[in-house]
Amino acid sequence: MSSAPASSARKWSQSGSRGKDRAFYLSALLAGLLILVSLGAIAVFLIIQSLPALFANPKELPGSPSSFWAYVAPLAFGTVWAAVLALIMALPVSIGIALFISHYAPRRIASVLGYIIDLLAAVPSVVFGLWGIKVLAPFVQPFYSWLTANLGWIPLFAPPASGTGRTILTVAIVLAVMVVPIITAICREVFVQAPRLHQEAALALGATKWEMVRTAVLPYGTPGMISASMLGLGRALGETMVVAMVLSPATVINFVLTGSANPPTIAGNIALNFPEAHGVGVNALIATGLILFVITLAVNAVARLIINRRKEFSGAAG
């Protein structure tokens, strides 16, 4: 009676089992290390492939610029400009939606509303691109004409207006729609975690609902909102298909929102030119990709550091 469990216990403790234990641990460790290695490999392979472009004769680069950096400058500017515009539009809306779901909507329908916003994140970017060019661009073009005609003295709306509506502002609107669910999801989580007692105390002192939100919810959520907007920025920086399909690019650096000469973005430029690129042109495109990788990596790393520090402070479960 006692021999059966004893023998099986001995079987488990035999060296074979220990070896399997070890093998399982090592395979798990290996998978973890593989992630470290793959991130390093991305950097290494991109650097190897972009070196020829850095040392090539600038005349061989696409558009024959004066130097490699003259080739990159409009691209880098357009990338950041479009992403920042998108963020400016998306952030207030996202915070509004997050507050609406967490504090204003009836509790029974709040989760349904959250699901509807998540649906936006489920739409593939290429579909957003198709919608942007076929529905949004023709729709906003009359507004652009009106803006340039009446507010043309503002440098942002300098005439002439784009005849197609395929401007950087249209791209930024679509990008904003795409990052709204990301920012909303994180803001919502932070707002829900805001201490209940603080909110009730504020209400008990006679604060209106908005005063309660302003004094007890928003200050608590500030780091969360900052990191959420940085994650959204990272997404907008790297978004490719919308830019490739909607924007009509030119090699310029300007701040005009409604014109027909728009600064290109790194990701959009790669998507448009990679299929036909050859020789050192491929290396130049990969080099711009490396720059994009570094920018987004830095933005994301800072955002994550802020979130992680927040967790240590509040002790909230992640």
């Binding site: 399982f24 998978a31 992630i35 793959s38 509004g96 489920a122 739409v123 908005w210 939100v213 998507a271």
Partner: protein
């Protein structure tokens, strides 16, 4: 006591308990009248121009702005400045939600209406080989080659990323202590933010160097790029699910003399398998619509290609892009096919999300909470 005697009007207004309140109906009256004003103005403009286009969006946007301004003004005058601000913010916050709904509704309606035109049998049974323009009555062109490519590429990416992602999650939850685990967690988070096009460039650089072919295009490379995008999602969701498994189960298993690896395989994983499956399904839904990496490394083709290790391979998101970007002289049939493919893509993503929810509901862990 003296304050009750010398009470100025402004003080009595700031007392929220005794101050006047706006009746509920007044807000709706305000909203209707401000919308009505602009509806009237734009109706007059339309009559004057005779263009036959009533600018509904402008009416709603300008009407909402007028409503906000009026609401703040009226409420400030009647109820005091603080309540006025409160009403204004409530209105703005509700508006923010509606603003986000507009593009979603517009997009869904457009995709369904335009996609339905070519959502037919030929679309799912034919490739684009030798199809020009609208094609013939019998062969009108379809996305079969793209659907096959999407299935193979996504399947390969899933096969590659699930073991790696799951094992990493197991390492982080069951073994990981100290700085290595922290570094991996951090890098997984950072990996979530890698632009998809960079993943495509990496797959291209890697394969071009390994094979020595500077213009390499293959479905396997696309799967490699998608794997890179899928791993962080799988790791995060699996990690969360493994952490939900109660420690008592592990301790009970150890107490019976079961070694750690068997405990994980036979106790921890079966308990959390539903959640992990849900996470994996959602991860697939996330990568199935990725276009940019495929554009770089999968290439374009109009023909069937079942072999992911050799030659260009089409995929559904790429099909949408090429039909839009490289149409023939007759643009409309290409656009119709693009919308039909977009509809198919959205249906696939919705279906995957639905499956994920069903898995979570039916096989939810049988642990009393």
């Amino acid at each position: 006591m003296s304050t009750t005697v010398h009470r100025s009007p402004s003080q009595s207004q700031s007392n929220s308990l005794t101050a006047a309140r706006l009746p509920t109906w007044s807000i709706w009256v305000l909203l209707a009248s401000s919308l009505g004003v602009f509806a009237g103005i734009f109706a007059l403009i339309e009559l004057a121009q005779g263009s036959g286009e009533f600018n509904l969006v402008a009416v709603i946007v300008l009407g909402a702005l007028l409503f906000d301004a009026l609401l703040y003004l009226v409420s400030s005058l009647v109820e005091g400045r603080r309540r006025g601000l409160d009403r204004l913010m409530t209105s703005l916050i509700s508006t923010a939600f509606l603003v986000a709904l507009l593009p979603l509704v517009s997009l869904v309606i457009t995709v369904i209406v335009d996609g339905w035109k070519r959502f037919d049998l030929a679309f799912f049974t034919q490739s684009m080989r030798n199809i020009v323009g609208a094609g013939t009555e019998q062969f009108s062109g379809g996305a079969l080659h793209a659907i096959v490519g999407t299935l193979e590429i996504t399947g390969l990416a899933t096969v590659l990323s699930v073991p790696i992602g799951l094992l990493t999650a197991i390492y982080l939850v069951e073994y990981g202590r100290g700085s290595l685990a922290k570094a991996i967690t951090f890098l997984v988070d950072v990996m979530t933010g890698i632009p998809s096009i960079v993943a495509g460039l990496f797959a291209f650089s890697f394969l071009a160097l390994v094979t020595g072919d500077p213009g390499i295009r293959s479905g396997f490379g696309a799967a490699l790029a998608l794997t890179l995008l899928m791993i962080p999602t799988v790791v995060r969701s699996s990690e969360e699910m493994l952490r939900l498994v109660p420690n008592e189960l592990r301790e009970a298993s150890f107490a019976l003399g079961v070694p750690k690896w068997l405990t994980i395989l036979k106790v921890v994983l079966p308990t959390s398998i539903a959640g992990i499956a849900t996470g994996i399904t959602l991860a697939i839904a996330r990568i199935v619509g990725e276009t940019a990496p495929l554009l770089i490394i999968a290439g374009f083709t109009a023909s069937m290609n079942y072999n992911p290790f050799n030659g260009s391979m089409m995929a559904l998101p790429l099909f949408v892009y090429t039909q839009y970007a490289n149409p023939g002289t007759d643009v409309q049939p290409y656009l119709d096919r693009a919308w039909a493919a977009a509809l198919t893509l959205i249906l696939i993503v919705m279906l995957l999300n639905l499956i994920a929810r069903l898995i979570a509901r039916i096989f939810s862990p049988k642990v009393s909470r």
